[in-house]
């Protein structure tokens, strides 16, 4: 079975632009969560979706938004990019409704650089 797939793998944007990151979960996983990881730090929770409904939102500005589609894939959108948005964006899928109740399976991430 395929693991979690994310696209694109790398992205370079300029300040003020917007970006869309995509994630396909492991087959059978209905939960998708998004994390931002700055170099040298732990992953910071952005959003979790389960069965297309937002289940949780981290401490990120409204410039960050996400959605989950009927096939359980997900998109993360970031508007009005800032230099500080440069990071590795990780998507994780899992089985359980609660994000902390079952193992997270991470994709390889999207490396976003904002110049």
């Amino acid at each position: 079975d395929a693991g979690v797939t994310q696209s694109p793998t790398h992205l370079i944007k300029t300040r003020g632009q917007h970006v869309t990151l995509r994630c396909s979960p492991i087959s059978g996983h209905k939960s998708v969560s998004w994390y931002q990881q700055v170099l040298g730090q732990g992953p910071q929770f952005i959003f979790q979706y389960y069965e297309k409904e937002e289940r949780g939102r981290g401490n990120f500005p409204d410039r960050f938004s996400a959605r989950q589609f009927p096939n359980y894939s997900s998109e993360l959108n970031v508007n009005a990019l800032l230099l500080g948005d440069s990071a590795l964006y990780l998507c994780a899928s899992s089985l359980a409704r609660g994000v902390g109740n079952s193992p997270l399976h991470f994709g390889n991430g999207t490396r976003l650089t904002v110049t």
Partner: protein, 111 residues
């Protein structure tokens, strides 16, 4: 908000030495998970602990959940170069509806 801290931040060991990382939460946890992230890679799930005082072993790795469910530790016996990476704990709260990653411990193993 909830904080999950890990110590040490970095650890360099000689191959064959033991290694321990400690994880401390500011709030009581529903469960705790441990992940390993190799350089340039993504976090990979290692284990989940649920019960107070629980101890689990995976070959050379021993995981422990504190009695108060606010701290945890990972101990590696006789480290190998394949153990290199950053180890993160992740604490679940709110009945598992929230998961907060720790600050991580970066392990380097020298021959």
């Amino acid at each position: 908000g909830q904080q999950v801290m890990q110590i040490p931040q970095y650890q360099h060991v000689q191959e064959g030495e033991d290694f321990t990382t400690y994880c401390n939460s500011s709030t009581t946890l529903s469960n705790i998970q441990w992940y390993k992230q190799r350089p340039g890679g993504h976090p990979v799930f290692l284990i989940q602990l649920v019960k107070s005082g629980e101890v689990k072993k995976q070959k050379r790795l021993t995981f422990q959940f504190g009695e108060a469910k606010k701290n945890s530790s990972l101990h590696i016996t006789a480290t190998q170069t394949t153990d290199v990476g950053t180890y993160f704990c992740a604490g679940a709260t709110g009945g598992g509806n929230k998961l907060t990653f720790g600050t991580g411990t970066q392990l380097k193993v020298e021959l």
